[in-house]
Point group: C2
Chain length 368, copies 2
């Protein structure tokens, strides 16, 4: 889009209160806190550079007839990785990583040199790399893929260009990832809705391996996308989020039970006693754990660990997170150098669980 | 309260759109759809007769320190029965039963002669009897107390007077119930917060028997009330509501898991594999059942059975329910005379589960 149109739309968005000035460390920039016209939430503006927000992808709950209903043409099939969404872009001499909501992430930015070869930005500085960062040592998600044993890894799934909506075509993306030896999400090739048996086998394999699911991208100019997750990931999601009870919207749990039931039914898997037990334990054990935490320390927290290259970035990360979550909601437990890394351990306070348990355990009354 | 004040407050409530004209069969009356000043939601007005709505009672989630925190003086302890709340009052030559929200209930009204001795209204026509109706053959609740094997029973827990807020004192209530041989809720006597051990034993016995819980009523002019439920009823509630997934607010399930965890912790009951399994099954099996129902009949329903004295009341009941739930949402399966009763079997369609399953099983996409 031409610079005048971009700046004019930005001005209208600012008038409509959809844009906030955001400061991370020494950096000031504009961030769309809400969707406005062609800009999704999470779009950011660094002077003349517009980095489009990553759009939401709808979900089908059944492969059959979901694929048939959604796709008139062939589509690419890629793995959906259980991590957090980032967009990487060149800004002056640096490459910055943005979260889904458009915050510069001091953790991801610090670790880019370990996660991918950044030379692509020397030759193609206009590109924006859309990727998932996943692994047990990440500062945002409690869950992570079973095939990553430590730290984090990065998996690119889309390329965009600065100042442009939309993605590069799949074939161009694959060529660029290969040419620059960049890590892409696992791709399973090109299918049609009629290839249901093959796709179903793939889904069942991912389910058994505890992986999250698939993203389908139509091989056409409309680039229609849809996601589908395994049954297993719903159980894992409930399990890892148990400690965050009250913090997540209550639909979080019910949606996952609903998806799990639809998955079992579509794949003709009768639920076992072990599955029932795992589901019940996932829901109840985390709540009991939160009660015990409150009794021991008068708050409910969740602990995260991650490693940084530079101490200053670890400190900026904690400061940024506290600014976002509120004063006193982030507690540094440890920051120590081991080899080339600074290992950070910190806790996020879960204010709703803390408040509710304080009230309930203090003998307060609730109305419902 | 004096008639002029009542009518003047009613007029203000009508101006504020808190009052609706309600027609059940041939009866027209006014009903408070929302709280207004001293009138709770569910207050009804039949000409000069004002029947106060039944107030909400707050819940403690721990006996200790809940009782200590809530009660400065002795309190009465009564059983909380798992049914639906009604208010009975004399109107002309009839006695009518109102639901919590203030609808005249054609089912309960039809069955009053079987549920209690109505002579109290001959001598004390100004009284309003507040009671729970419970049992497996009721048209509203999926669950019912384990000690009722068939049909329904009625349990009085409070007495009010027409045109007056507040309840009669506990001793006066007990005397009247005895004098007129009326069925009251089981009462366990008068306690103080220091009698925690005795109350705790009582709660544990109710829990083992699958009963719902207790209501505490302070023996003082402020008449402060608080309720407390057993761990077991939370599991039962989740189990009986499984078929109604999507229909109930999502908090319904999470609140019960939270209460169950607090109960287990307070009573030092470690959760067992059987408990986890029961919880998981309760949540998942009902969702699977709803999927199978939708696949078989393109809708998700819940079936109820209840018995009437008069056929016309069964018909009025179905007509009233359909008016409240929407056209096509109630389906009569069977209405047949057996002995002195007309046995009705009907189904309520669960529109949200039906809509969501139609969308998901049809291959539609959802955003979340």
């Amino acid at each position: 889009m031409d610079p005048d149109t971009l700046q004019e739309t930005l001005r209208l968005a600012q008038e409509s209160q959809r844009v906030l000035t955001t400061r991370i460390g020494q950096r000031d920039y504009l961030r769309f806190s809400h969707k406005f016209q062609c800009f999704p939430e999470g779009t950011v503006v660094f002077g003349p550079q517009f980095i489009w927000g990553y759009p939401k992808i709808g979900r089908i709950l059944r492969l059959d007839p979901g694929l048939q209903a959604q796709f008139g043409q062939a589509f690419w099939v890629e793995e959906k990785i259980d991590g957090y969404n980032v967009r990487l872009f060149r800004h002056g001499d640096e490459v910055l990583a943005l979260t889904r909501r458009g915050y510069v992430c001091p953790f991801t930015t610090d670790r880019l040199q370990d996660l991918l070869d950044l030379r692509i930005f020397d030759e193609r500085p206009e590109l924006v790399l859309c990727a998932e960062v996943a692994g047990p040592e990440n500062p945002y998600n409690e869950g992570s893929p079973p095939f990553i044993q430590e730290d984090v890894q990065l998996f690119i799934f889309d390329l965009m260009r600065q100042n442009c909506p939309g993605f590069l075509p799949q074939r161009e993306k694959l060529q660029l990832l290969e040419a620059y030896s960049l890590p892409g999400v696992p791709g399973f090739g090109r299918y049609r809705a009629g290839d249901l048996t093959a796709i179903d086998s793939l889904v069942c394999r991912l389910d058994q391996e505890g992986r999250e699911g698939l993203v389908f991208k139509e091989d056409s100019s409309r680039d229609h996308r849809v996601k589908y997750v395994t049954g297993r990931i719903n159980l894992s999601d409930i399990h890892v989020s148990e400690g965050s009870f009250q913090q997540l919207p209550p639909e979080y749990f019910l949606h996952r039970i609903f998806r799990l039931a639809l998955f079992l039914d579509e794949h003709e898997l009768a639920p076992t006693a072990a599955l029932y037990q795992e589901l019940g334990r996932s829901l109840l054990a985390g709540t009991l754990d939160a009660i015990h935490q409150y009794q021991a320390q008068h708050k409910v927290c969740h602990t995260f660990r991650c490693r940084f290259r530079r101490r200053a970035n670890a400190e900026l990360f904690l400061q940024t997170l506290e600014h976002l979550l509120g004063k006193g909601q982030v507690r540094e437990h440890r920051l120590e150098q081991r080899g080339d890394f600074y290992h950070l351990e910190f806790a996020k306070v879960l204010p709703r669980a803390t408040g509710l348990l304080g009230h309930a355990l203090g003998g307060g009354i609730v109305f419902d």
